[in-house]
């Protein structure tokens, strides 16, 4: 049995879930369980519900790694003996892994940061930082991990949604996205200014993630604009991405998705885990990345978006040689991970 332990909530967004779903897809996993803190209160996971196990009861919450590991061990011992555990969580690290290690066949960690200590058999970090071999970081990783740990590094192991429905394509000029739990009203001023300038001559899609708290507010704010379409909790953002000219997004997992589809993208680094250097984003073909504070200069952002729209062919050319090849990613995983 494969057990995933992930962060999945308003606070942690959808990124960890998307990554493990992608891994499950690459490895053709049919039987697995996803262990989360609490059952997510959204219809987005309707089809997945049978696979999701909540770790904490009603009034209990995560306190520390050891207590979490204890509860996790109870699940292992009661139902799923000797499982392969795949963990994608910012809160759980070395102590948690060491605690459950003896009860598992293998432990795998999906990670974004390089500084954290681990005790796992496989370490996955798909950051573009690893596109070029960097001995210094590699040595640091080896020092922070147990002996014989296998490292699966860089976009060659990219975990993102690549399942496109070829028939589904939603046509638009711009798509705005702020991750699975991000507040879309962050872009309010920018979107309204673009409409003011381009009037009806533009079609905008706003994607509201399943954990976004203010879907109603977003609908109310943009109610009067006929050229704005709001997509709520789409199973897959690829059909909206595929049909758009410019994608404006937080710099999360969707950077890989837009790189995969080669969509001109303006990124905003909204969180600490989105703090890659320009040169790392460039490895994915993303040459336009701004800080969250730049959103305060809405007029300048609007001008830039309109310029990107006009020069999208030039940007596509810039992205042409970056290719995330899902077939080879799948092969890479299947070659290394045999349970």
């Amino acid at each position: 049995m494969i057990l995933f332990r992930i962060d999945l909530s308003i606070k942690y967004g959808l990124g960890h879930y998307n990554r493990i779903k992608s891994l499950a897809n690459y490895l053709n996993l049919k039987k697995y369980k996803i262990i989360v803190d609490k059952l997510p209160n959204t219809s987005f996971f309707k089809n997945e519900k049978k696979n999701i196990i909540p770790l904490y009861e009603k009034n209990n919450y995560f306190i520390d790694e050891k207590k979490d590991a204890n509860l996790f061990l109870k699940i292992i011992k009661s139902k799923y003996k000797n499982p392969v555990v795949i963990k994608d969580s910012y809160r759980l690290g070395y102590s948690w892994e060491k605690f459950i290690y003896k009860s598992c066949k293998k432990i795998i960690s999906i990670e974004d940061f390089t500084e954290k200590k681990h005790f796992v058999d496989y370490y996955i970090n798909h950051s573009p930082t690893f596109s070029i071999k960097n001995e210094e970081i590699l040595n640091k990783l080896k020092k922070n991990n147990k002996k014989n740990c296998k490292f699966l590094l860089g976009p060659d192991y990219g975990l993102f949604n690549s399942l496109i429905n070829r028939k589904e394509k939603i046509i638009s000029d711009l798509v705005f996205y702020n991750g699975g739990s991000g507040n879309l009203l962050t872009y309010e001023k920018i979107i309204k200014n673009i409409i003011k300038i381009r009037k009806s001559n533009i079609k905008i899609i706003i994607i509201v993630g399943p954990f976004a708290k203010n879907y109603e507010d977003v609908c109310f704010t943009f109610k009067k604009y006929k050229n704005i379409k709001i997509l709520y909790k789409p199973k897959n953002i690829l059909s909206a991405l595929k049909g758009t000219k410019v994608f404006i997004s937080s710099a999360g997992v969707s950077t890989l998705e837009s790189s995969f589809l080669k969509i001109p993208t303006l990124l905003f680094k909204m969180n600490n885990n989105q703090n890659l250097s320009d040169f790392d984003y460039e490895k994915l073909g993303h040459y336009f990345s701004l800080e969250k504070k730049d959103l305060n200069f809405s007029d300048k952002v609007v001008t830039l978006i309109i310029l990107m729209l006009k020069n999208r062919i030039q940007i596509k050319r810039m992205m042409s040689k970056t290719s995330l090849n899902t077939k080879s990613i799948k092969k890479n995983y299947q070659k290394l991970m045999k349970f």
Binding site: Y287, D294, L304, M308
Partner: protein, 165 residues
């Protein structure tokens, strides 16, 4: 002998270009000393970079300068306003003069054009070298003076020099 070669720049160096422009060595002798923000740079890239012809000057395969040439017209005259951006936080006189020489080789290949450069009056090195590359000071009585000062937004602490190629 160290090898110097040129390499055309492309859009993929957009972020590196900004990094170089913001090096102190470049801001020190630039009309604007402020750090250029990414958002301003990206806009400039789409609006102005297309009109500019730029190439790297490489020394032993590493970029040491970017040669820039802005091409524009005034009445029936064709103008080029050229400059150099250092790719290193520090440079030396030999590399600088070599870069100017390479830039001039490019400019000399242009036909029937007026080439302009502006030099900060405090830049003692370059203020002594313009004559060796065939430039003449642009005086107030020159017919181009007002136009060039205005279009290129040249400040008082800069001298302008020009040559016809």
């Amino acid at each position: 002998m160290k090898k110097f070669v040129i390499l055309q720049i492309n859009d993929k160096i957009i972020n590196k270009y900004l990094f170089y422009k913001n090096l102190y060595i470049n801001r020190r002798y630039s009309s604007s000393k402020k750090i250029i923000t990414k958002i301003d740079h990206y806009q400039w890239w789409f609006l102005k970079q297309k009109l500019r012809k730029s190439f790297f000057i490489l020394k032993q395969d590493k970029p040491i300068f970017i040669s820039t040439s802005d091409h524009f017209t005034f009445k029936n005259y064709k103008f080029i306003y050229s400059g150099l951006i250092s790719c290193l936080p520090e440079t030396n006189l030999f590399d600088l003069l070599k870069a100017i020489k390479i830039q001039n080789e490019y400019l000399n290949k242009q036909k029937k054009k007026y080439c302009f450069i502006s030099i900060d009056k405090n830049n003692k090195v370059l203020m002594h070298h313009w004559k060796y590359f065939g430039y003449t000071p642009l005086y107030k009585k020159n017919i181009f003076y007002k136009y060039v000062k205005k279009v290129l937004n040249i400040r008082k602490n800069y001298n302008v020099f020009y040559k016809k190629v």
